[in-house]
Symmetry: C2
Subunit: 257 residues, 2 copies
Protein backbone atom coordinates (compact mmCIF):
# COMPACT_ATOMS: atom_id res chain seq x y z
CA UNK A 1 0.00 0.00 0.00
CA UNK A 2 1.40 3.42 -0.84
CA UNK A 3 2.22 5.45 2.25
CA UNK A 4 1.86 9.23 2.48
CA UNK A 5 3.37 11.67 4.94
CA UNK A 6 1.02 14.50 5.93
CA UNK A 7 2.08 17.82 7.45
CA UNK A 8 -0.84 18.84 9.62
CA UNK A 9 -1.87 22.19 11.07
CA UNK A 10 -4.70 22.40 13.59
CA UNK A 11 -6.34 24.61 16.16
CA UNK A 12 -6.35 22.74 19.47
CA UNK A 13 -9.43 24.31 21.04
CA UNK A 14 -12.23 22.03 19.79
CA UNK A 15 -10.29 18.80 20.28
CA UNK A 16 -9.64 16.51 23.23
CA UNK A 17 -6.14 16.20 21.77
CA UNK A 18 -4.48 14.46 18.85
CA UNK A 19 -5.32 10.89 19.82
CA UNK A 20 -8.56 9.24 18.74
CA UNK A 21 -11.02 8.82 21.63
CA UNK A 22 -14.35 7.15 21.82
CA UNK A 23 -16.66 10.00 22.78
CA UNK A 24 -14.58 13.11 22.18
CA UNK A 25 -13.48 14.90 19.01
CA UNK A 26 -9.82 14.40 18.19
CA UNK A 27 -7.54 15.55 15.40
CA UNK A 28 -6.65 11.95 14.55
CA UNK A 29 -10.34 11.06 14.39
CA UNK A 30 -11.10 14.02 12.12
CA UNK A 31 -8.38 13.02 9.64
CA UNK A 32 -9.33 9.33 9.76
CA UNK A 33 -12.96 10.26 9.03
CA UNK A 34 -11.84 12.34 6.05
CA UNK A 35 -9.71 9.43 4.79
CA UNK A 36 -12.78 7.17 5.03
CA UNK A 37 -14.58 9.54 2.66
CA UNK A 38 -11.84 8.89 0.08
CA UNK A 39 -11.40 5.15 0.64
CA UNK A 40 -14.35 3.78 2.62
CA UNK A 41 -12.91 1.51 5.33
CA UNK A 42 -11.33 1.90 8.77
CA UNK A 43 -8.17 4.04 8.70
CA UNK A 44 -5.52 4.31 11.39
CA UNK A 45 -2.90 7.00 11.11
CA UNK A 46 0.24 7.52 13.19
CA UNK A 47 1.68 10.88 14.23
CA UNK A 48 5.03 12.18 15.45
CA UNK A 49 3.59 13.69 18.61
CA UNK A 50 0.39 13.06 20.54
CA UNK A 51 -0.56 16.59 21.53
CA UNK A 52 -2.87 17.23 24.48
CA UNK A 53 -6.30 18.88 24.53
CA UNK A 54 -6.02 22.52 23.46
CA UNK A 55 -2.49 22.24 22.06
CA UNK A 56 -2.06 23.45 18.48
CA UNK A 57 -0.35 21.84 15.52
CA UNK A 58 1.70 23.90 13.08
CA UNK A 59 3.99 21.22 11.70
CA UNK A 60 2.63 17.98 13.13
CA UNK A 61 3.52 15.04 10.86
CA UNK A 62 1.41 11.92 10.37
CA UNK A 63 1.33 9.10 7.85
CA UNK A 64 -1.49 7.18 6.23
CA UNK A 65 -1.67 4.10 4.01
CA UNK A 66 -3.92 4.21 0.96
CA UNK A 67 -5.25 1.51 -1.36
CA UNK A 68 -4.97 3.63 -4.48
CA UNK A 69 -2.06 5.61 -5.79
CA UNK A 70 -2.87 9.24 -5.07
CA UNK A 71 -1.23 12.31 -6.44
CA UNK A 72 -0.01 13.88 -3.16
CA UNK A 73 -1.43 17.35 -3.94
CA UNK A 74 -4.80 15.83 -4.87
CA UNK A 75 -4.81 13.76 -1.68
CA UNK A 76 -4.15 16.88 0.43
CA UNK A 77 -6.83 18.83 -1.40
CA UNK A 78 -9.40 16.05 -1.06
CA UNK A 79 -8.65 15.67 2.65
CA UNK A 80 -8.96 19.41 3.22
CA UNK A 81 -12.29 19.37 1.40
CA UNK A 82 -13.64 16.65 3.70
CA UNK A 83 -12.06 18.09 6.87
CA UNK A 84 -14.15 21.27 6.59
CA UNK A 85 -15.31 22.89 8.81
CA UNK A 86 -12.97 21.33 11.42
CA UNK A 87 -9.90 23.54 11.98
CA UNK A 88 -7.50 20.90 10.64
CA UNK A 89 -5.51 21.49 7.48
CA UNK A 90 -3.14 19.30 5.48
CA UNK A 91 -0.47 21.83 4.51
CA UNK A 92 1.84 19.38 2.71
CA UNK A 93 1.67 15.80 1.50
CA UNK A 94 4.32 13.50 0.02
CA UNK A 95 4.61 9.84 -0.79
CA UNK A 96 7.17 8.05 1.40
CA UNK A 97 8.67 4.57 1.60
CA UNK A 98 6.35 1.93 3.04
CA UNK A 99 8.62 1.48 6.06
CA UNK A 100 8.81 5.21 6.80
CA UNK A 101 7.07 6.03 10.08
CA UNK A 102 5.90 9.46 11.23
CA UNK A 103 6.68 8.60 14.85
CA UNK A 104 9.57 6.15 14.76
CA UNK A 105 11.51 7.77 11.92
CA UNK A 106 11.47 11.18 13.66
CA UNK A 107 14.80 12.51 14.94
CA UNK A 108 13.53 15.58 16.75
CA UNK A 109 10.36 17.40 17.79
CA UNK A 110 10.24 21.19 17.96
CA UNK A 111 7.72 22.96 20.15
CA UNK A 112 6.93 26.64 20.23
CA UNK A 113 5.15 28.45 23.07
CA UNK A 114 3.72 31.98 23.15
CA UNK A 115 3.04 34.10 26.23
CA UNK A 116 1.33 37.45 25.68
CA UNK A 117 2.02 39.97 28.45
CA UNK A 118 -0.76 42.54 28.75
CA UNK A 119 -3.68 43.38 30.97
CA UNK A 120 -6.54 43.98 28.48
CA UNK A 121 -8.04 40.78 27.01
CA UNK A 122 -6.73 40.05 23.52
CA UNK A 123 -9.43 39.99 20.86
CA UNK A 124 -7.37 38.48 18.01
CA UNK A 125 -4.93 36.21 19.86
CA UNK A 126 -7.36 34.70 22.38
CA UNK A 127 -6.93 30.92 22.28
CA UNK A 128 -3.57 31.26 20.50
CA UNK A 129 -1.45 32.50 23.42
CA UNK A 130 -1.18 32.16 27.17
CA UNK A 131 -2.06 35.68 28.26
CA UNK A 132 -0.74 36.98 31.58
CA UNK A 133 -1.21 40.46 33.04
CA UNK A 134 2.37 41.19 34.06
CA UNK A 135 5.73 41.68 32.39
CA UNK A 136 8.42 38.99 32.32
CA UNK A 137 12.20 39.22 32.54
CA UNK A 138 13.24 37.03 29.61
CA UNK A 139 16.96 37.15 30.46
CA UNK A 140 16.25 35.71 33.92
CA UNK A 141 14.04 33.08 32.31
CA UNK A 142 16.85 32.08 29.94
CA UNK A 143 19.21 31.78 32.93
CA UNK A 144 16.71 29.43 34.52
CA UNK A 145 16.15 27.52 31.28
CA UNK A 146 19.87 26.88 30.81
CA UNK A 147 19.78 24.49 33.79
CA UNK A 148 17.42 22.26 31.81
CA UNK A 149 19.41 21.88 28.60
CA UNK A 150 21.22 18.55 28.16
CA UNK A 151 20.69 14.97 29.33
CA UNK A 152 18.79 14.80 32.62
CA UNK A 153 16.29 12.87 34.66
CA UNK A 154 13.22 15.07 34.09
CA UNK A 155 10.98 13.47 36.72
CA UNK A 156 10.23 16.94 38.13
CA UNK A 157 8.87 18.15 34.78
CA UNK A 158 6.80 15.09 33.90
CA UNK A 159 3.09 14.55 34.40
CA UNK A 160 2.20 11.87 36.94
CA UNK A 161 0.31 10.03 34.18
CA UNK A 162 3.30 10.05 31.78
CA UNK A 163 3.72 6.64 30.18
CA UNK A 164 7.31 6.98 28.99
CA UNK A 165 9.56 4.15 30.14
CA UNK A 166 12.29 6.44 31.40
CA UNK A 167 12.27 10.03 32.70
CA UNK A 168 15.76 10.54 31.25
CA UNK A 169 15.72 12.67 28.11
CA UNK A 170 18.05 15.00 26.26
CA UNK A 171 16.82 18.55 25.83
CA UNK A 172 18.65 19.95 22.81
CA UNK A 173 17.49 23.56 23.05
CA UNK A 174 15.29 25.86 25.11
CA UNK A 175 15.62 29.36 23.72
CA UNK A 176 13.57 32.27 25.00
CA UNK A 177 13.06 35.50 23.09
CA UNK A 178 10.93 38.60 23.44
CA UNK A 179 8.94 39.74 20.43
CA UNK A 180 7.15 43.08 20.11
CA UNK A 181 3.88 42.62 18.27
CA UNK A 182 1.12 45.03 17.27
CA UNK A 183 -0.97 43.67 20.14
CA UNK A 184 1.70 43.80 22.86
CA UNK A 185 4.89 42.14 24.09
CA UNK A 186 5.18 38.38 23.69
CA UNK A 187 7.69 35.92 25.12
CA UNK A 188 8.43 32.97 22.83
CA UNK A 189 9.92 29.63 23.81
CA UNK A 190 11.67 27.46 21.20
CA UNK A 191 12.16 23.94 22.51
CA UNK A 192 13.84 21.02 20.75
CA UNK A 193 14.42 17.40 21.75
CA UNK A 194 14.33 13.94 20.21
CA UNK A 195 11.27 13.23 22.33
CA UNK A 196 9.39 14.71 25.26
CA UNK A 197 7.72 13.48 28.42
CA UNK A 198 4.03 14.13 29.00
CA UNK A 199 3.45 17.80 29.94
CA UNK A 200 7.20 18.47 29.83
CA UNK A 201 7.03 21.68 27.79
CA UNK A 202 4.10 23.07 29.78
CA UNK A 203 5.92 22.21 33.02
CA UNK A 204 8.99 24.08 31.75
CA UNK A 205 7.00 27.13 30.66
CA UNK A 206 4.92 27.33 33.83
CA UNK A 207 8.06 27.08 35.96
CA UNK A 208 10.03 29.60 33.91
CA UNK A 209 7.12 32.04 34.03
CA UNK A 210 7.63 32.08 37.80
CA UNK A 211 11.29 32.99 37.18
CA UNK A 212 10.33 35.75 34.73
CA UNK A 213 7.82 37.18 37.20
CA UNK A 214 10.52 37.35 39.89
CA UNK A 215 8.93 34.74 42.16
CA UNK A 216 11.69 32.17 41.57
CA UNK A 217 15.43 32.77 41.33
CA UNK A 218 16.88 31.15 38.16
CA UNK A 219 18.96 28.75 40.27
CA UNK A 220 15.79 27.28 41.73
CA UNK A 221 15.09 25.69 38.32
CA UNK A 222 18.31 23.70 38.65
CA UNK A 223 17.41 22.70 42.19
CA UNK A 224 13.94 21.60 41.07
CA UNK A 225 15.52 19.50 38.31
CA UNK A 226 17.98 17.86 40.73
CA UNK A 227 15.20 17.07 43.18
CA UNK A 228 13.69 14.56 40.69
CA UNK A 229 10.39 15.22 42.42
CA UNK A 230 7.20 16.25 40.68
CA UNK A 231 6.30 18.40 43.72
CA UNK A 232 9.34 20.62 43.02
CA UNK A 233 7.89 21.73 39.65
CA UNK A 234 6.30 25.13 39.20
CA UNK A 235 2.69 25.34 38.02
CA UNK A 236 1.94 23.63 34.71
CA UNK A 237 0.84 26.35 32.26
CA UNK A 238 -2.34 26.14 30.15
CA UNK A 239 -2.21 24.52 26.69
CA UNK A 240 -3.40 27.25 24.33
CA UNK A 241 0.03 28.89 23.85
CA UNK A 242 1.66 25.60 22.82
CA UNK A 243 2.35 24.57 19.21
CA UNK A 244 3.96 21.41 17.86
CA UNK A 245 6.01 23.46 15.43
CA UNK A 246 8.03 20.95 13.42
CA UNK A 247 9.33 17.40 13.26
CA UNK A 248 12.75 16.60 11.87
CA UNK A 249 13.54 13.40 9.92
CA UNK A 250 16.77 12.06 8.39
CA UNK A 251 15.44 13.45 5.11
CA UNK A 252 12.65 16.05 4.92
CA UNK A 253 9.77 14.07 3.36
CA UNK A 254 8.22 17.33 2.10
CA UNK A 255 11.41 18.73 0.54
CA UNK A 256 10.07 18.35 -2.98
CA UNK A 257 6.44 19.14 -2.12
CA UNK B 1 -17.97 66.26 32.16
CA UNK B 2 -14.58 64.59 32.10
CA UNK B 3 -13.72 63.16 28.69
CA UNK B 4 -11.71 59.99 28.15
CA UNK B 5 -9.91 58.73 25.07
CA UNK B 6 -10.15 54.97 24.55
CA UNK B 7 -7.81 52.88 22.40
CA UNK B 8 -9.97 50.03 21.20
CA UNK B 9 -9.08 46.62 19.78
CA UNK B 10 -11.78 44.40 18.28
CA UNK B 11 -12.41 41.37 16.13
CA UNK B 12 -14.63 42.43 13.26
CA UNK B 13 -16.36 39.11 12.56
CA UNK B 14 -19.37 39.30 14.91
CA UNK B 15 -20.16 42.94 14.18
CA UNK B 16 -22.05 44.78 11.46
CA UNK B 17 -19.27 47.37 11.77
CA UNK B 18 -18.22 50.09 14.16
CA UNK B 19 -21.36 52.22 13.94
CA UNK B 20 -24.38 51.61 16.17
CA UNK B 21 -27.30 50.07 14.29
CA UNK B 22 -30.78 49.27 15.37
CA UNK B 23 -30.98 45.52 14.89
CA UNK B 24 -27.36 44.45 14.44
CA UNK B 25 -24.46 44.12 16.85
CA UNK B 26 -21.87 46.89 16.50
CA UNK B 27 -18.64 47.75 18.27
CA UNK B 28 -19.97 51.18 19.19
CA UNK B 29 -23.12 49.60 20.63
CA UNK B 30 -21.09 47.10 22.68
CA UNK B 31 -18.97 49.85 24.25
CA UNK B 32 -21.98 52.10 24.87
CA UNK B 33 -23.78 49.22 26.62
CA UNK B 34 -20.72 48.64 28.81
CA UNK B 35 -20.61 52.36 29.65
CA UNK B 36 -24.28 52.19 30.67
CA UNK B 37 -23.33 49.51 33.21
CA UNK B 38 -20.96 52.01 34.81
CA UNK B 39 -23.14 55.13 34.58
CA UNK B 40 -26.74 54.13 33.83
CA UNK B 41 -27.96 56.48 31.08
CA UNK B 42 -27.69 56.76 27.31
CA UNK B 43 -24.10 57.08 26.11
CA UNK B 44 -22.90 58.20 22.70
CA UNK B 45 -19.26 57.77 21.80
CA UNK B 46 -17.37 59.07 18.78
CA UNK B 47 -14.58 57.22 16.95
CA UNK B 48 -11.76 58.16 14.60
CA UNK B 49 -12.87 55.72 11.91
CA UNK B 50 -16.16 54.00 11.18
CA UNK B 51 -14.97 50.56 10.15
CA UNK B 52 -17.18 48.28 8.03
CA UNK B 53 -18.60 44.87 8.90
CA UNK B 54 -15.82 42.34 9.40
CA UNK B 55 -13.00 44.91 9.62
CA UNK B 56 -10.81 44.66 12.71
CA UNK B 57 -9.63 47.31 15.14
CA UNK B 58 -6.10 47.27 16.53
CA UNK B 59 -5.69 50.93 17.40
CA UNK B 60 -9.14 52.44 16.89
CA UNK B 61 -9.60 55.53 19.06
CA UNK B 62 -12.90 56.70 20.55
CA UNK B 63 -13.89 59.12 23.27
CA UNK B 64 -16.59 59.06 25.93
CA UNK B 65 -17.91 61.60 28.44
CA UNK B 66 -18.48 60.47 32.01
CA UNK B 67 -20.36 62.02 34.93
CA UNK B 68 -17.85 60.90 37.52
CA UNK B 69 -14.09 61.31 37.59
CA UNK B 70 -12.66 57.93 36.76
CA UNK B 71 -9.14 56.73 37.17
CA UNK B 72 -8.35 55.86 33.50
CA UNK B 73 -6.97 52.40 34.29
CA UNK B 74 -10.00 51.60 36.42
CA UNK B 75 -12.32 52.80 33.66
CA UNK B 76 -10.60 50.55 31.11
CA UNK B 77 -10.72 47.58 33.47
CA UNK B 78 -14.39 48.11 34.28
CA UNK B 79 -15.28 48.44 30.59
CA UNK B 80 -13.36 45.27 29.73
CA UNK B 81 -15.20 43.45 32.51
CA UNK B 82 -18.59 44.46 31.09
CA UNK B 83 -17.58 43.96 27.46
CA UNK B 84 -16.99 40.23 28.00
CA UNK B 85 -17.54 37.99 26.11
CA UNK B 86 -17.67 40.35 23.10
CA UNK B 87 -14.28 40.47 21.32
CA UNK B 88 -13.78 44.16 22.12
CA UNK B 89 -10.97 45.31 24.39
CA UNK B 90 -9.99 48.70 25.77
CA UNK B 91 -6.22 48.53 25.53
CA UNK B 92 -5.50 52.07 26.77
CA UNK B 93 -7.47 54.89 28.37
CA UNK B 94 -6.51 58.48 29.17
CA UNK B 95 -8.32 61.60 30.29
CA UNK B 96 -8.30 64.31 27.59
CA UNK B 97 -9.45 67.92 27.32
CA UNK B 98 -13.21 68.37 27.04
CA UNK B 99 -12.84 69.78 23.51
CA UNK B 100 -10.62 66.92 22.32
CA UNK B 101 -12.41 64.83 19.71
CA UNK B 102 -11.49 61.31 18.59
CA UNK B 103 -12.64 62.03 15.05
CA UNK B 104 -12.05 65.73 14.48
CA UNK B 105 -8.74 66.01 16.34
CA UNK B 106 -7.21 63.14 14.32
CA UNK B 107 -4.40 64.03 11.91
CA UNK B 108 -3.99 60.65 10.25
CA UNK B 109 -5.46 57.15 10.08
CA UNK B 110 -3.25 54.12 9.52
CA UNK B 111 -4.64 50.93 8.06
CA UNK B 112 -2.95 47.57 7.82
CA UNK B 113 -4.01 44.73 5.50
CA UNK B 114 -2.86 41.10 5.48
CA UNK B 115 -3.02 38.68 2.55
CA UNK B 116 -2.00 35.08 3.25
CA UNK B 117 -0.82 33.23 0.13
CA UNK B 118 -1.31 29.49 0.44
CA UNK B 119 -3.61 26.78 -0.81
CA UNK B 120 -4.47 24.82 2.38
CA UNK B 121 -7.06 26.53 4.60
CA UNK B 122 -5.46 28.31 7.55
CA UNK B 123 -6.57 26.99 10.92
CA UNK B 124 -5.13 29.76 13.12
CA UNK B 125 -5.37 32.83 10.86
CA UNK B 126 -8.85 32.21 9.44
CA UNK B 127 -10.86 35.41 9.83
CA UNK B 128 -7.69 37.44 10.40
CA UNK B 129 -6.33 37.46 6.82
CA UNK B 130 -7.55 37.45 3.25
CA UNK B 131 -6.34 34.06 2.10
CA UNK B 132 -5.65 33.47 -1.59
CA UNK B 133 -4.29 30.32 -3.21
CA UNK B 134 -1.59 31.85 -5.39
CA UNK B 135 1.65 33.77 -4.95
CA UNK B 136 1.92 37.52 -5.46
CA UNK B 137 4.69 39.66 -6.91
CA UNK B 138 5.02 42.34 -4.23
CA UNK B 139 7.48 44.47 -6.24
CA UNK B 140 4.97 44.73 -9.09
CA UNK B 141 2.26 45.60 -6.59
CA UNK B 142 4.41 48.38 -5.14
CA UNK B 143 4.96 49.73 -8.68
CA UNK B 144 1.20 49.82 -9.10
CA UNK B 145 0.65 51.33 -5.65
CA UNK B 146 3.06 54.19 -6.32
CA UNK B 147 0.55 55.63 -8.83
CA UNK B 148 -1.88 56.13 -5.93
CA UNK B 149 0.34 58.04 -3.52
CA UNK B 150 -0.30 61.79 -3.30
CA UNK B 151 -3.28 64.10 -3.82
CA UNK B 152 -5.80 62.67 -6.28
CA UNK B 153 -9.44 62.38 -7.18
CA UNK B 154 -10.07 58.83 -5.91
CA UNK B 155 -13.53 58.37 -7.49
CA UNK B 156 -12.35 55.04 -8.97
CA UNK B 157 -11.51 53.66 -5.53
CA UNK B 158 -14.59 54.85 -3.69
CA UNK B 159 -17.75 52.92 -2.90
CA UNK B 160 -20.84 54.14 -4.69
CA UNK B 161 -22.46 54.69 -1.29
CA UNK B 162 -19.57 56.82 0.02
CA UNK B 163 -20.89 59.92 1.77
CA UNK B 164 -17.71 62.02 1.71
CA UNK B 165 -18.23 65.49 0.22
CA UNK B 166 -15.25 65.25 -2.10
CA UNK B 167 -13.46 62.31 -3.72
CA UNK B 168 -10.18 64.25 -3.52
CA UNK B 169 -7.87 62.94 -0.81
CA UNK B 170 -4.16 62.80 -0.08
CA UNK B 171 -2.70 59.33 0.30
CA UNK B 172 0.45 59.73 2.41
CA UNK B 173 1.78 56.19 2.12
CA UNK B 174 0.97 52.80 0.63
CA UNK B 175 3.83 50.46 1.42
CA UNK B 176 3.77 46.77 0.54
CA UNK B 177 6.02 44.18 2.13
CA UNK B 178 6.31 40.40 2.13
CA UNK B 179 6.57 38.64 5.47
CA UNK B 180 7.45 34.97 5.97
CA UNK B 181 5.42 33.51 8.79
CA UNK B 182 5.27 30.06 10.33
CA UNK B 183 2.01 29.47 8.45
CA UNK B 184 3.11 30.72 5.04
CA UNK B 185 3.98 33.84 3.05
CA UNK B 186 1.99 36.98 3.76
CA UNK B 187 1.80 40.28 1.91
CA UNK B 188 1.22 43.29 4.15
CA UNK B 189 -0.10 46.70 3.13
CA UNK B 190 0.63 49.77 5.28
CA UNK B 191 -1.63 52.65 4.28
CA UNK B 192 -1.66 56.16 5.76
CA UNK B 193 -3.83 59.22 5.04
CA UNK B 194 -5.55 62.01 6.92
CA UNK B 195 -8.85 60.40 5.98
CA UNK B 196 -10.21 57.77 3.66
CA UNK B 197 -13.19 57.31 1.38
CA UNK B 198 -15.61 54.45 1.93
CA UNK B 199 -14.04 51.13 0.82
CA UNK B 200 -10.91 52.95 -0.36
CA UNK B 201 -8.37 50.59 1.24
CA UNK B 202 -10.25 47.47 0.15
CA UNK B 203 -10.52 48.90 -3.38
CA UNK B 204 -6.76 49.50 -3.39
CA UNK B 205 -5.93 46.02 -2.07
CA UNK B 206 -8.31 44.21 -4.41
CA UNK B 207 -6.91 46.10 -7.40
CA UNK B 208 -3.27 45.62 -6.39
CA UNK B 209 -3.88 41.91 -5.85
CA UNK B 210 -4.69 41.74 -9.56
CA UNK B 211 -1.31 43.37 -10.25
CA UNK B 212 0.49 40.93 -7.95
CA UNK B 213 -1.19 37.98 -9.64
CA UNK B 214 -0.02 39.21 -13.05
CA UNK B 215 -3.50 39.97 -14.38
CA UNK B 216 -2.94 43.74 -14.43
CA UNK B 217 0.19 45.64 -15.47
CA UNK B 218 1.23 48.15 -12.77
CA UNK B 219 0.56 51.07 -15.13
CA UNK B 220 -3.10 50.06 -15.33
CA UNK B 221 -3.49 51.25 -11.72
CA UNK B 222 -2.53 54.77 -12.81
CA UNK B 223 -4.94 54.56 -15.75
CA UNK B 224 -7.73 53.40 -13.47
CA UNK B 225 -7.04 56.33 -11.13
CA UNK B 226 -7.05 58.84 -14.00
CA UNK B 227 -10.33 57.45 -15.34
CA UNK B 228 -12.17 58.74 -12.20
CA UNK B 229 -14.68 55.99 -12.87
CA UNK B 230 -15.77 53.39 -10.32
CA UNK B 231 -16.04 50.83 -13.13
CA UNK B 232 -12.27 51.08 -13.70
CA UNK B 233 -11.53 49.71 -10.21
CA UNK B 234 -10.41 46.14 -9.66
CA UNK B 235 -12.48 43.87 -7.42
CA UNK B 236 -13.03 45.11 -3.85
CA UNK B 237 -11.33 42.62 -1.52
CA UNK B 238 -13.06 41.05 1.51
CA UNK B 239 -12.87 42.78 4.93
CA UNK B 240 -11.28 40.20 7.21
CA UNK B 241 -7.66 41.11 6.37
CA UNK B 242 -8.19 44.80 7.19
CA UNK B 243 -7.19 46.45 10.48
CA UNK B 244 -7.57 50.06 11.60
CA UNK B 245 -4.05 50.02 13.00
CA UNK B 246 -3.52 53.45 14.52
CA UNK B 247 -4.75 57.03 14.66
CA UNK B 248 -2.35 59.94 14.98
CA UNK B 249 -3.15 63.14 16.93
CA UNK B 250 -1.18 66.36 17.47
CA UNK B 251 -0.22 64.83 20.82
CA UNK B 252 -0.55 61.13 21.60
CA UNK B 253 -3.33 61.05 24.21
CA UNK B 254 -2.02 57.71 25.52
CA UNK B 255 1.63 58.77 25.81
CA UNK B 256 1.56 58.66 29.60
CA UNK B 257 -0.81 55.69 29.87
Amino acid sequence: MPRYALKVEYHGAPFAGWQRQKDHPSVQGAIESALAKLEPRAHTIAAAGRTDAGVHGLGQVAHCDMDKDWDPDRLAGALNFHLKPAPVSIVACAQVAEDWHARFSALERQYFFRILCRRAPSTHQAGLVWQIGHQLDAAMMQDGANHLIGNHDFTTFRSSICQAESPVKTLDALRIETVDTRWGPEVHFHVRARSFLHNQVRSFVGTLERVGAGAWAPARVGEALSACDRAACGPVCPPQGLYLAAVRYPQDPFAGA
